[in-house]
């Protein structure tokens, strides 16, 4: 028995650990550090129809236990991702989750349709929650009806399961999640970054040239845990959790909250080996807490173990 094996729509994962979109490029850089085959999956950088340069620099700033980024969806564009990045990744036996972004519905639909044809793309992650672009992005992520409509159309266009990435910058995340589930999403990924700002005391101006940026890292972990806890109880599609994960213990906490797999973002910048380390440590953590299989941990914080004997997601 592989104690870490997890089955999710479209994704047969040898373990539930994957780098989060935007924090791992298209894998090449991290392949210098360890064998990418060890990963459960890879969430690649957001892809748009056209190549994008993104926002002017500075694009990152440090905060207490976190960072702000305003990359602005820089990416080489659909065509280059299809002809260069994905084929390069195909040397690895790792399912790719393609993060899809755009400015208008048609863009999302087009990228989803094309990118889902790539043989190693096993799922789409619909990025309706990027706080760093003027149009599209977060607008789709804050109004349930618009999110649902987009989900439906992308779902029709995609030949692989569609996960929708939720923004934490909303009053009612459960309402968003439910609308997206009803629209046919196969799963949810959450959370994207919270909108934040830092001001340079020397200049008096925001540090980021985009002024605001997305807050990630351990600082946001309690918010992620809370939202996953609420959403995973309200929907019946699986949740891939993320937000501040740094260790195998954090992964356990996300599972307890209700996640069925976990993505690691910012922590890769601090320690390029972090995903590998977490994967290696997970069995020890399962032993320590008396679990045979990682799936037993899923939703433990809200499942009533007295009456149900739940195994696996």
């Amino acid at each position: 028995m592989n104690r870490l094996h997890v089955e999710l729509p479209g994704l047969s994962l040898k373990n539930p650990i994957m780098p989060a979109s935007g924090c791992f490029g298209f894998g090449k850089e991290y392949a210098q550090f360890y064998d990418l085959n060890k990963l459960g999956a890879i969430m690649i950088k957001a892809t748009t129809v056209e190549p994008r340069f993104g926002n002017p620099t500075p694009r990152v700033a440090e905060t207490s236990s976190g960072m702000l980024n305003a990359i602005g969806l820089q990416n080489p564009g659909l065509q280059k991702v299809m002809t260069e990045e994905l084929p390069w990744l195909d040397q690895y036996d790792v399912p790719i989750i393609a993060n899809v972004a755009g400015s208008q519905i048609e863009d999302y639909v087009e990228v989803a349709r094309e990118i889902s044809k790539a043989p190693n793309v096993h799922a789409i992650e619909l990025n309706i929650s990027c706080p760093n672009v003027k149009t599209g992005g977060i607008a789709f992520g804050t109004v349930p009806e618009i999110a649902a409509e987009l989900t439906k159309l992308v779902k029709q266009a995609s030949s692989v399961p569609v996960y929708v990435k939720l923004s934490p910058n909303v009053t009612n995340i459960v309402e968003m999640a439910k609308a997206i589930e009803r629209a046919g999403a196969d799963g949810l990924t959450m959370i994207n970054t919270l909108i934040g700002m830092r001001i340079d005391l020397k200049t008096g101006n925001p540090i980021l040239s985009n002024k605001t940026g997305g807050l990630s890292g351990p600082a946001i972990k309690p918010i992620a845990i809370r939202m996953i806890y609420e959403v995973s109880q309200a929907v019946s599609i699986p949740v891939i959790g993320m937000g501040g994960v740094q260790s195998a213990e954090d992964v356990l906490e996300f599972f307890y909250a209700g996640a069925s797999a976990v993505a690691v973002g910012t922590a890769n910048f601090i320690d390029p080996f972090v995903c590998q380390t977490i994967i290696e440590e997970l069995p020890r953590i399962l032993d320590k807490h008396g679990f045979d299989h990682i799936s037993e941990c899923q939703g433990r914080s809200w499942k009533n173990y007295a009456t149900t004997t739940y195994r696996g997601s």
Binding site: Y30, F33, M67, I270, D271
Partner: protein, 259 residues
């Protein structure tokens, strides 16, 4: 190859106002080949000074497995670094990036090395390599003020060295570009590292030359994965071509990227 290692502090010393020289020891030094490369430091183990800090390699001592950095105590991370003591460890990721091309200067030729402030340190290892190769080196080093000057003597041992300070309290008053002009310095190859305005002035003056500039940018990953540190490419009609300072740079040929 890029490695990550907990390296031991061999020495740490204040060498000018808020300027520290720190030497670390470990097998990662074996990987250091090019002057102008940098390392990315995680200064505390915990969340404090959360991100890594990019600092240039100033001196490499392969025999001892040691390398030296010179940094300015400025914000949180460099303050914490300055409080570390001998035998404590620092988490080093490196070496990173593409440094100065030593091969661009030939024996017998003249290389002009121009540094501003905390852009000076990487020029030291570069200068040593050039001298070893038989290149004639001239250094022009700019600082804010007398108390900020460091390594003047060390550079002087390698070649003629001009110092300029903004307030004129040491060397000539003004900027490095003024020195080059007034002293009528000529060269075959130019290497420079320093604040962007300095690099822009050099680009202006020496666009057609065999010149190499080392850039600075705020970084996330330091290895090319996060797109934090990109810059535009010059003469790019579509506007979405880019170079990453961390992995394509930090050293670029003059005219290659938009400063």
């Amino acid at each position: 190859m890029i490695k990550k290692e907990m390296m031991r502090i061999v020495s740490q010393e204040g060498i000018a106002d808020d300027i520290f020289e720190i030497t670390l020891e470990g097998s990662l030094v074996k990987e250091m080949h090019q002057p102008g490369q940098f390392v990315h430091l995680k200064i505390t183990e915990g969340p404090e000074a959360f991100l890594r800090r990019p600092i240039s390699i100033a001196k490499i001592n392969k025999e001892m497995n040691q390398f030296t950095m010179i940094y300015r105590k400025d914000g949180l991370g460099t303050r914490l670094l300055s409080e570390k003591i001998v035998d404590q460890k620092v988490d080093v990721l490196g070496p990173l990036g593409n440094g100065f091309p030593v091969e661009e200067a030939q024996s017998g030729e003249t290389a002009l090395l121009v540094g501003g402030g905390i852009g000076v340190p990487p020029l030291y290892e570069l200068s040593k390599r050039l001298v070893k190769k038989g290149v004639h080196v001239i250094h022009v080093l700019g600082f804010q003020t007398n108390s900020a000057v460091f390594y003047e003597e060390k550079f002087r041992e390698l070649g003629s060295t001009y110092v300029a300070t903004v307030d004129g309290s040491r060397g000539s008053k003004g900027f490095v570009t003024d020195v080059i002009k007034t002293e009528g310095l000529v060269f075959d190859t130019l290497y420079a590292c320093g604040p962007t305005p300095m690099l822009k002035a050099l680009e202006e003056n020496y666009r057609g030359y065999n010149a190499y500039l080392s850039l600075e940018e705020r970084m996330g990953c330091g290895i090319g994965a996060c797109f934090a540190c990109v810059c535009h490419v010059q003469n790019d009609s579509l506007g979405h071509a880019y170079k990453k300072v961390c992995s394509d740079g930090p050293v670029f040929k003059v005219g290659e990227v938009v400063l």
